[in-house]
């Protein structure tokens, strides 16, 4: 047995089987229970990832302004962006690292489900070498693959695949940032649809047990996301109210938004004309956010941009 199997795959597999022993010999219930367990274990990482993503989204209007100013100097743009993130206390890697850490767990769960289902006789024979010497584990074999009338070892359940696709669409919609620039619209649309479509087809092709895991995992993910960052782009009008649940998130955004009132008034007269993109960005911040702060909350580097005479500013290129 290689280290991967010994340290990660074998424990996950045995927990999966052990759970089914205590869940009335229901492997489907065991998959759901394991998904909940795994989601709870990785909750701090998921929460961190969601908060980072959300905080980055909230900075989009400011990023857009930086892009305006440094359109011809990509190095300066990158430096200013990083400076902005630093001042807001956000690490772009904060979105990626938690996901990378969770990946081995995802893969182990995939493999465990497929191994435990022991689709072919070779699978059952192969499975024996992974089992712990616990009566609750080895006496459970082979597992009962029927769950609420669904054969977890079969393929091509259209309703299940549809549920997987729909739930992933909801989650993607909640996660994907609203387009700051209309030209990003296409990209964000692709992001919202690509993963649900792919998983819809995966769910049709692969075993129902795996599709059940995807469905359970996505539904739990949606619930977690709702409590951490709100509905996101799914129901933008309700976001502000929902987001107030998360104190960490609020404090993080406040770090960027807060500024002395006097300074705000000083720049009040010199306001950039709101572009379509900025409107979008405002929407992402929530309908309840009136945004009295017209720049004072921005880092110093951004405030300087705003104080420039209107004539010297480059506007967004006109759309044709």
């Amino acid at each position: 047995m290689n280290p991967w199997e010994l340290i990660i795959l074998q424990p996950v597999l045995n927990i999966l089987i052990w759970l089914s022993y205590y869940l009335f010999n229901s492997f489907g219930a065991s998959i759901i229970a394991l998904t909940i367990l795994m989601r709870l274990i990785t909750y701090p990482l998921t929460a961190r990832q969601l908060r980072s993503t959300k905080a980055m989204q909230s900075l989009q209007p400011k990023i857009a302004e930086l892009q305006k100013k440094y359109a011809k100097d990509r190095n300066a743009l990158a430096q200013e962006q990083m400076k902005l993130y630093k001042e807001a206390g956000i690490s772009p890697a904060g979105c990626l690292v938690p996901m990378l850490v969770q990946m081995p767990i995802w893969i182990a769960v995939y493999q465990s489900i497929m191994l435990a289902l022991a689709i072919a006789p070779e699978g059952l024979l192969n499975l024996s070498r992974y089992l712990y010497p616990w009566p609750a584990v080895y006496s459970m074999m082979p597992l009962n693959s029927n769950f609420l009338g669904l054969d977890l070892a079969a393929t091509g359940n259209f309703i299940l695949a549809l549920l997987v696709g729909a739930s992933m669409w909801v989650q993607q919609k909640m996660t994907t940032p609203p387009a700051v620039d209309p030209r990003q619209q296409q990209t964000t649309q692709m992001m919202v649809w690509m993963m649900p479509m792919m998983f819809f087809f995966f769910s049709l092709w692969f075993y129902n047990g795996l599709a059940l895991y995807w469905l359970a995992s996505t539904v739990i993910g949606i619930a977690m996301q709702y409590f951490i960052t709100g509905w996101g782009s799914l129901l933008p009008g309700r976001e502000a109210g929902q987001a107030t649940r998360d104190k960490k998130y609020r404090s993080r955004i406040a770090r960027v938004e807060q500024a002395p009132v006097a300074e705000t008034e000083a720049i009040e007269a010199d306001i950039v004309e709101p572009s379509t993109a900025q409107e979008g960005g405002k929407e992402s911040a929530g309908a309840g956010d009136k945004r009295q702060d017209r720049g004072a909350g921005y880092p110093k580097s951004i405030r300087q941009i705003r104080r420039q005479p209107r004539s010297s500013r480059r506007r967004y290129p006109k759309r044709r």
Partner: protein, 397 residues
Amino acid sequence: MEMRFRQNKALPVKVALLLLMVVLLVTAGGLSGLGCIRGLQAIGWSGGAIVDNTLFVGSKEGRLVAINLAEGGRQWSEALKMSGQGAGLFGCGTPAAGGGCGGGPTGVAIYGTPAVAGGLVYIAGYNGKIYAFDSSTLQIRRIYPREGNLQPIVGGTAAAQDTVYVGAADTKESWKLYALDAATGNERWQFGTGDRVWSTPVVSGETVYFGSFDYKLYALDAESGNKLWEFKAEGAIGATPLVHNGTVYIGSFDRHLYAVDAASGTLKWQFMGENWFWATPLVYEGVIYAPCLDGRVYALDAESGLKLDEYDLGSPVSSSPVLVDSTIVLASQAGGIYAIDTSSGQKRQLVDIEAEVYGPLSTSQGVVYIHTQDLKIHAVDASSGAELPTISLKSGE
């Protein structure tokens, strides 16, 4: 324009895109890896049946192969047909169809060892059909059922007198032991069990014995199919029983080897290994040699179940051993071929054939035949350990 689009793309969108791509790559990579992992495709591990110096074996191509052991001639039947399920993702056949993957054999998987009786060779396919071939021409004589398919069949067939016995099912919830008329292929009787029957039935006298995944060992009247008794273990039974001297020996997934009185079904003794007892044990001079998936072969007193010795073969043993004179010959899954001298109790490795072995061994005239997962039959001299020329099961080769 493209450049401008790239420049204006906000970092959060880039990060989100990157996340999406990472998720998709991991999923696709994981799934494509899963697509061909061991145990998703039914490949088969049929043992060989030797009659009149001819070895009959089910190949991974889904064909019955007859090998003349004296002259080395080979004959192939036509390939068994899939049950109709389409191919899966990445070109893998669905397990129900017994499909292979990635350019490997794509025929119907055959797990059971053929049974030969009355000039016919009986074989059951993972496509849910039972076939009777003419033993000399390998032409199909009978198919059961004639229309449609049963559930995938893993156990072998047993032919006794004028009846063929096999475990199969119409639906996943209706597993039975079928008794078919050997002459006509018509069903004589069926006996329902609580779960899958992977065990090959064994007929001894007027009784047929077999195990089921419902944890039970059954004894039925061979003529009528009436239940004589049942014995419940603590785990599923997928192994084929051994009947000897009024005792039925059978292994279970609960890690026990059971000795049950053949007449009454009462437990005589039980022995616990460190993994499942998958293969059929072998008895010689009052000693049971029981291979186990823990990589050992246990030598147990047939009467008391007392452990006399154990032999470590280094990797799981799922193939049933054979007796050559007074030597027990075994194969580990990794391809190590071992001999246990019953008089001295010494184990020695005959040869390492470096190919995976899952199915039961067969023997004739001092030579052991091993069907390996690389579509070959390896032949090993049981006394010297010399490896004889391998026989390819690939059709037309």
